[in-house]
């Protein structure tokens, strides 16, 4: 805060940039992690069932134990290929969710710590006037 304003970027600009970098890393790590888990599960699955004849005639997904987290963890502990793949899919689904949660938290933090966005908006015109114009 007390550093010279000439050679340092504006504080909230820098903050935005570092948040973007963290989000980028979060997404990349999430995708690579889930892909590795799916790959490991896929290798186990193909190793065990790769030569079996596929039967997709009847659909039995509703009865699958892999519908819930306990079911998936139970299967993973037994080194079931399908369960490990499902865990990887769960990680993949969780990645963008984690991103949204992270930016929501970051937005709240920055709204609390720096009060700059609100005054700059209200200095242009009051919120009610804004709404009337648009």
């Amino acid at each position: 805060m007390s550093s010279s304003p000439h050679n340092s970027p504006p504080p909230d600009d820098w903050n935005d940039h570092s948040i973007e970098l963290i989000i980028g890393t979060l997404l990349r790590v999430g995708v690579l992690l889930s892909a590795s888990v799916v790959l490991i599960g896929g290798i186990i699955y193909l190793f065990r069932h790769g030569l079996a004849t596929a039967s997709y005639r009847t659909f039995e997904g509703d009865l699958s134990p892999l519908r819930s987290l306990p079911g998936i963890t139970h299967g993973v502990l037994q080194l079931s290929g399908r369960a490990i793949i499902q865990l990887g899919l769960l990680l993949l689904i969780a990645t963008p969710v984690a991103r949204v949660v992270f930016s929501a938290v970051a937005l709240r933090e920055s709204a609390i710590t720096s009060t700059s966005p609100l005054p700059s908006l209200s200095s242009q015109s009051s919120p009610t006037v804004c709404l009337e114009h648009t």
Binding site: V31, S34, A35, V38, L39, G41, G42, Y45, H49, A54, Y56, G61, D62, L63, S64, L66, R67, S68, G81, R82, A83, I85, Q86, G88, L89, L90, L92, I93, A94, T95, P96, V97, R99, V100, L121, C130, H133, T134
Partner: protein, 146 residues
């Protein structure tokens, strides 16, 4: 006007450094996005093409920003439905595995190419792909496979 209130104007990196852009016709863009969402909910087709068209043509957002934003939006919205599918047992791990690995490797490659690709060639590829998709859907509609 609305773009300024919503803080939508921004900048994006190009080969010549950061370039500023402004966002236009937000209500029209909103309407088209609503249509895109309804279509994908009804037909299960990826509404990414419609989103890119809405952002590129209606809102005049730079093409690369449109495509990357569309991709990002799909990631977040797909997570919502994918969670439901998973909880209902609609996802078969044996089928999902090659899809995830193939699509994942392809999208990492695509993202790397996009950074240096020329917008003109990206547009050409995009147009070709949506034309092919359109023909395929019309064909499926006539043969009753949709």
């Amino acid at each position: 006007m609305l773009a300024r209130v919503l803080h939508l104007d921004s900048s994006y990196p190009t080969a010549q450094g950061m370039e500023d852009y402004t966002v236009h016709r937000i209500p029209l863009g909103f309407g088209l996005m609503f249509g895109a969402g309804t279509l994908s909910g009804l037909l299960g087709i990826g509404s990414g093409a419609v989103k890119v068209l809405a952002m590129d043509q209606a809102m005049r957002i730079p093409f690369k920003v449109s495509t990357t934003t569309s991709n990002f939006m799909i990631g977040v919205t797909a997570a919502a439905s994918a969670g439901i599918y998973l909880a209902r047992g609609y996802i078969d791990p044996g089928i999902a595995m090659p899809v995830v690995l193939g699509a994942g490797a392809g999208s990492i490659l695509g993202a790397r190419v996009l950074v240096n690709a020329r917008t003109k060639s990206l547009r050409a590829v995009f147009s070709a792909v949506i034309v092919i998709l359109g023909i395929e859907m019309i064909f499926n509609g006539f043969t009753g496979r949709l």
